[in-house]
C-alpha cells in the first residue's frame, strides 16, 4: 500500500500566494511515500515545503520554474506500476489525448502524470492511463476557465490503483475516487 501524491502547477508566487488552507491542513508529513510534481512550482521555497512532506520527491521542469535543473520528464517504478512524469507544455496540442498517448508509449509507462492545463483529467487509452492533477493553487491558466484547486493522491496496492481526487469547490474539499487495475505484466506491457 503505497501512497503517491501527484501535484503541480502551483505558480507560487507569481499567480498564487500559497496552497489553499484546507489542502495544507490535510497534507501532513508521514503519510505519503512519494511525490510526483508536474512542475511550475515555481520557487525553491515550494520545493522545500514539498520535500518536508515526503523525502522522495520527483519534479519535472515547467516553463516558469526558477530551477532550471529539473529534468524534462522522469520515469519511476512504484510497486507493479511504471509511472511517468512530464510537465506537459512540451506536448502540443496542449492537453491533447493522442499526443499524450504518444508520449506515454515513448516513455513506456503505465501511468503518465502531466499538468499544464490546470484542469484535472483522468484518461484511459490502450497504452495506459494519463492523469492530470490540475493546479493545486487554482492558478490562472490561459487555456482553462474557472480553475478549481485540485491534486491527486494515488494508492498503489499490488495491481490496483485507487486514485483519490481532491478538489476545492466553493471553499469545500470534495474527494472522489477512481478505481482501476492492470492485468499482470504481459509481453505487450500494457
Amino acid at each position: 500500500m503505497v501512497l503517491v501524491l501527484a501535484i503541480g502547477d502551483l505558480h507560487i508566487p507569481h499567480r498564487a500566494p500559497d496552497l489553499p488552507a484546507k489542502f495544507k491542513s490535510m497534507l501532513v508529513p508521514g503519510k505519503i511515500q512519494h511525490i510526483l510534481c508536474t512542475g511550475n512550482l515555481c520557487i525553491k521555497e515550494v520545493h522545500d515545503y514539498l520535500k518536508s512532506l515526503c523525502p522522495d520527491l520527483h519534479i519535472t521542469r515547467g516553463e516558469y520554474d526558477a530551477d532550471a535543473r529539473y529534468p524534462e520528464n522522469k520515469t519511476l517504478t512504484i510497486g507493479q506500476f511504471k509511472l511517468g512524469l512530464c510537465h506537459g507544455h512540451q506536448i502540443i496540442p496542449w492537453g491533447d489525448l493522442d499526443s499524450l498517448a504518444m508520449l506515454q508509449r515513448q516513455l513506456d509507462v503505465d501511468i503518465l502524470v502531466t499538468g499544464h492545463t490546470h484542469q484535472f483529467k483522468a484518461y484511459k487509452h490502450e497504452a495506459g492511463v494519463v492523469i492530470n492533477p490540475g493546479s493545486a493553487t487554482g492558478a490562472y491558466s490561459s487555456i482553462t476557465y474557472d480553475v478549481n484547486p485540485s491534486f491527486v493522491l494515488m494508492d498503489i496496492d499490488g495491481l490496483r490503483v485507487v486514485v483519490y481526487v481532491y478538489e476545492l469547490i466553493d471553499g469545500e474539499v470534495k474527494v472522489d475516487k477512481i478505481d482501476f487495475k492492470k492485468t499482470a505484466n504481459t509481453q505487450s506491457a500494457h
Partner: protein, 485 residues
C-alpha cells in the same frame, strides 16, 4: 546473622554464593571456607534454571526431536538417579494429564518442580487456564479459539484500502480494467463514508491507520530484536522469519484489541518463551496451531500482569510502583540488613533492577532455557504468578547479598547494578554436594510440604542457592525451618 531469629542463614554468607568462580577480581577478596554450613534450613524444592540439563533428559525420543529444533537448550547432564527421578516426574505428569478431568491442584504441585520438556506446552496451557480441565472439551475449545483468532486476523490486520474495498464491496461498485480496450475519461465514483487517505476525522479508517503506524513500527522493531542469539527467532531461515511474523501478528492483534494498554516495549520478551514452547510441542497438530494458542495464553498471562504495563496506573495501588514496593517490603521482612543497605544507606532506587525483573517476568535475567523452568514455577502458583515472582526477585537479591553488602557505603548505583546484573554461576558439582549435605542433616521436615521439598531437592540436585532461597520464601515465608512467617 548472629542472634537473629529470622535472619539469613549462615550458609548464604558463604563466599560460594557471592563470588563468580571465574571472576578473579573478586575472589581474592573472599576467604575460602570449607563447605560446611549449618543446615539450618531445608532448602526448599529446587527449580533452578541453570540445571535445565536435568530436565530435557527425559524420554529419549522426545529429547531428540526437541533437540532437533531447539538447540538452545543446554545439553543434559545428569546422574542415573537423576534420570530416574526425571522419568518418574514425567510419568507422574503423564498420569495426571491422562485423566479425564485433570486435577489442577495436582498439576500445580507437579509443575512446581519443573515440567519435563515434552509435557510443558500442554501443562502451560492448562495452568494458564486456556484449556479446560475436562479433556473431552479440548477439541471443541481449540476449534473455537482458532476461529476466533482467524476472525481477529481477518478484521484487524487489514490495510485501510482493503477495509474500504470491503465496505464498497457491500455497496456494490465496479472496477475499471486498464487492459480493456477503449479510450476516454475514467469514470469517477463517490467515496464511501468520506474515507480518503488524508482524512483527518477521528473515525476514519485511514486516520486510525496512521495513528497506529507508530505502534506497528515499534512492534516491528522489537520483534526483529527478540532473542537475536536464538536460531528459532533470528536465524535467516524461512522458519525463523515465519516465527517472527507470527510474533508480529500476535502483538499487533493484541495491541488493537487492547487500546488501553496497546503495545509496550517488553511484551515481545514475555511473548517469546510462550511461542517457543508451543511451537516446539512434540505433538504436530498442536505445534501447527501454536500461534493461536500463544495468542490466547499471552492474553491470559498479561491479564495477570496488565497493571504493570499500564502507564496511568504506575503510581496507583496496583501499578508497578506498588509492586516494587511490595518487593521491598518482602526483602525487609526476610533480610533486614540487606534491605537497610539498599534502601537507607545507599538509597538505590529499586526501580533500577526490580522493574525489569517484574515486568519482563525474568526473561532478560536468565538463560532462555532457565527462564522456561522459572516460568513453570511461576505458573504453578494457585494465587497467581505475581507473588511467586516477587519472592524469586527477593531471593535473587538475598542470593547476592554478600556482594551487595560488600560494595559499601561509597559506591554508586552503577556498582550495584553491575553486581546484580551479573548473576554468579556456581559449579554444579559443588551445589550438588552442598545439597546433599543439607539433605542428610535435615531433621525437621515437619510438614508434608517439607518432605516434598526434600524429595525434590535430591531429585534436582544441581541448582543454585537462589532458588533454594526463593522456594523457602515461597513455601514457608521463611528460610529457617520450624518458624512460620
Amino acid at each position: 546473622m548472629v542472634g537473629k531469629k529470622k535472619g539469613v542463614p549462615e550458609w548464604l554468607n558463604s563466599p560460594l554464593w557471592s563470588s563468580n568462580l571465574s571472576d578473579d577480581r573478586r575472589s581474592s577478596r573472599y576467604e575460602t571456607i570449607t563447605l560446611s554450613p549449618e543446615p539450618s534450613s531445608p532448602p526448599p524444592a529446587p527449580s533452578r534454571p541453570e540445571p535445565s540439563p536435568s530436565r530435557p533428559r527425559l524420554a529419549g525420543a522426545q529429547r531428540s526431536e526437541i533437540g532437533a529444533h531447539s538447540g538452545e537448550l543446554s545439553p543434559s547432564w545428569s546422574s542415573p538417579e537423576e534420570e530416574s527421578r526425571e522419568s518418574q516426574l514425567l510419568a507422574d505428569f503423564q498420569i495426571t494429564l491422562s485423566s479425564r478431568i485433570i486435577n489442577l491442584g495436582e498439576l500445580r504441585r507437579l509443575a512446581f518442580q519443573g515440567i519435563p520438556h515434552g509435557v510443558r506446552p500442554t501443562a502451560w496451557k492448562l495452568l494458564l487456564g486456556y484449556l479446560p480441565l475436562d479433556r473431552t472439551l479440548w477439541a471443541h475449545e481449540l476449534e473455537k479459539k482458532q476461529t476466533q483468532y482467524h476472525t481477529f486476523k481477518d478484521e484487524l490486520l487489514l490495510y485501510p484500502s482493503e477495509i474500504t474495498r470491503r465496505m464498497e464491496g457491500s455497496a456494490g461498485s465496479k472496477n475499471e480494467d486498464l487492459s480493456c480496450l477503449g479510450t476516454g475519461l475514467l469514470s469517477r465514483s463517490k467515496i464511501i463514508h468520506g474515507e480518503h487517505p488524508l482524512s483527518l476525522t477521528k473515525s476514519s479508517v485511514w486516520n486510525q491507520y496512521f495513528q497506529e503506524a507508530e505502534i506497528l513500527e515499534q512492534i516491528d522493531r522489537d520483534v526483529k530484536r527478540t532473542h537475536p542469539d536464538m536460531e528459532f527467532f533470528c536465524g535467516g531461515s524461512y522458519l525463523a522469519k515465519s516465527n517472527q511474523e507470527a510474533l508480529r501478528r500476535i502483538l499487533i492483534i493484541f495491541a488493537k484489541l487492547n487500546p488501553g494498554v496497546k503495545y509496550v516495549q517488553g511484551m515481545n520478551e514475555v511473548l517469546a518463551p510462550l511461542f517457543y514452547v508451543f511451537r516446539n510441542d512434540p505433538d504436530e497438530t498442536n505445534a501447527s496451531h501454536a500461534e493461536v494458542d500463544t495468542f490466547f495464553c499471552f492474553v491470559e498471562l498479561l491479564s495477570m500482569f496488565r497493571d504493570n504495563f499500564c502507564k496511568q496506573l504506575d503510581n496507583s495501588l496496583v501499578g508497578i510502583r506498588s509492586t516494587i514496593e511490595k518487593l521491598s517490603q518482602l526483602l525487609k521482612r526476610h533480610d533486614e540488613e540487606l534491605w537497610r543497605q539498599l534502601e537507607v544507606i545507599t538509597k538505590v532506587n529499586p526501580q533500577f533492577y526490580a522493574f525489569r525483573w517484574i515486568t519482563l517476568l525474568l526473561t532478560q535475567d536468565f538463560k532462555f532455557s532457565d527462564c522456561l523452568r522459572i516460568w513453570d514455577t511461576l505458573f504453578s502458583d494457585p494465587e497467581g504468578p505475581q507473588e511467586t515472582l516477587l519472592r524469586i526477585c527477593c531471593a535473587m537479591l538475598i542470593f547476592v547479598r554478600r556482594r551487595l553488602l560488600a560494595v559499601g557505603f561509597h559506591c554508586t548505583t552503577e556498582n550495584y547494578l553491575t553486581t546484580w546484573l551479573q548473576f554468579p554461576k556456581v559449579s554444579r558439582v559443588e551445589l550438588l554436594r552442598f545439597i546433599r549435605v543439607l539433605f542428610s542433616d535435615e531433621t525437621s521436615a515437619h510438614s508434608s510440604m517439607g518432605k516434598l521439598r526434600w524429595a525434590l531437592i535430591s531429585a534436582y540436585g544441581a541448582m543454585s542457592g537462589c532458588l533454594l532461597v526463593s522456594l523457602g520464601l515461597l513455601k514457608g515465608g521463611s528460610l529457617l525451618p520450624n518458624t512460620k512467617s
